[in-house]
């Protein structure tokens, strides 16, 4: 993407996100009160995040690769299971990948 295209993406996506936020405050309450809507939205959020984890961990363009990111994600999962704060989880994952690469793997 060129820089101009990225600007279009940033502004358009921001407008979409703001419109969604505002719509929630403006629509009559019962429209979104349907439990099915709320449940599906929650499922979509979880699925998107899981897919993003996958793409970021084993994706490399259009190739599937196993490198230092996978063990780093394992460390992040252990940290999350131990209820570490967000910033600690992210730093531990980065340190793991950086350390493995410094040792010449991944």
């Amino acid at each position: 993407m060129t820089s101009a295209t990225v600007w279009v993406v940033v502004l358009a996506a921001s407008a979409v996100c703001f419109a969604l936020k505002l719509a929630g405050h403006l629509v009559p309450e019962h429209w979104l009160a349907d439990e099915r809507v709320a449940r599906t939205a929650a499922l979509v959020t979880a699925a998107l995040l899981a897919a993003l984890v996958t793409v970021q961990t084993v994706g490399d363009g259009q190739a599937l690769v196993v490198d230092a990111r996978l063990p780093a994600l394992g460390v992040a999962a252990v940290a999350l299971a131990l209820r570490a704060p967000f910033i600690v989880v992210v730093v531990l994952a980065a340190a793991t990948a950086a350390g493995l690469r410094a040792l010449g793997w991944g």
Partner: protein
């Protein structure tokens, strides 16, 4: 839910002394003030914790190929962590512009549900709603809906929303400038940090069975599509799978009395 400041004045006996009425009102007033103070304290601690990880967003955004101004525009205008990380993830993976916008938008849908939940609790005038909309995120909704009185709901919402907005943007700038100065992002493990950030956003949502199923299906679908589909498509396909799972799950719930074809005898098996 009881809302102390919505409670009608206690019906005093006609001949009760007026001071008793005033005392009750005083006690309610003190309780509400205590609750407002507690809400503000909670808001500040949530703001500091959340604002800090703006550093990782800023750094990862410039690593993904956005410049500092574009990164700041996202934190100022989009202001929704999940959508921001998603957008830079798709851009960084070489996805199409439409896929980047759609992914960020899908992750922003939950904010619409938050707004609908907050509307009646905040009871704001129309133009205040426009301002409140921008501060409607996971954390401000969580703090606001945890309060009981209207004043505490409003205090929790505004202090959390504005507090995170200020810190998130300041830390985004710090991260973006640092990321710019780092050089090779892989040597610093920043690509793994991006994956870990998504995992940390996902983690608290995995308590329910259906969410685990949706997440697992998304991993399989995304991994299967990476080699064959253009960038951004694997992520959007996962959203489609979740919608299907949601429909199936809803149909199953709508017919709780109907005997299942298999030996589903346990009444408690219909978990959340």
């Amino acid at each position: 839910m009881t809302r102390p400041d919505d409670v009608p004045r206690p019906d005093a006996e006609p001949d009760a002394p007026a001071s008793l009425d005033a005392e009750v009102e005083d006690a309610v007033e003190h309780a509400v003030e205590d609750e407002v103070r507690a809400a503000v304290r909670q808001a500040v601690s949530v703001s500091v914790a959340t604002g800090l990880y703006g550093i990782s967003f800023g750094a990862l955004s410039v690593v993904a190929g956005l410049d500092v101004a574009q990164t700041m525009a996202l934190s100022l205008l989009m202001f929704s962590g999940g959508s921001q990380f998603a957008l830079i993830g798709v851009v960084g993976a070489g996805g199409a512009p439409g896929a980047a916008i759609a992914t960020a938008g899908f992750l922003g849908v939950r904010n619409a549900l938050y707004g609908a939940q907050l509307g009646p609790l905040l009871a704001l005038r129309s133009w205040h709603k426009v301002v409140a909309a921008q501060f409607t995120i996971d954390e401000s909704t969580a703090v606001a809906t945890a309060q009981r009185s209207r004043r505490a709901v409003r205090a929790g919402f505004w202090w959390t929303g504005v507090g995170i907005f200020v810190l998130w943007n300041a830390m985004t700038l710090v991260g973006a400038l640092a990321g710019d100065a780092l050089g090779d992002p892989r040597a610093w493990g920043l690509d793994a940090a991006a994956a870990a950030a998504f995992l940390a956003l996902l983690w608290p949502r995995l308590a329910a069975r259906a969410m685990q199923l949706a997440a697992a299906a998304a991993v399989v679908v995304a991994a299967a599509l990476i080699p064959v589909a253009p960038g951004g498509v694997p992520v959007l396909a996962a959203a489609a799978v979740a919608i299907v799972i949601g429909q199936v799950d809803a149909r199953r719930r709508r017919a709780p009395g109907r005997p299942a074809p298999d030996t589903d005898q346990h009444p408690g098996k219909e978990s959340s």
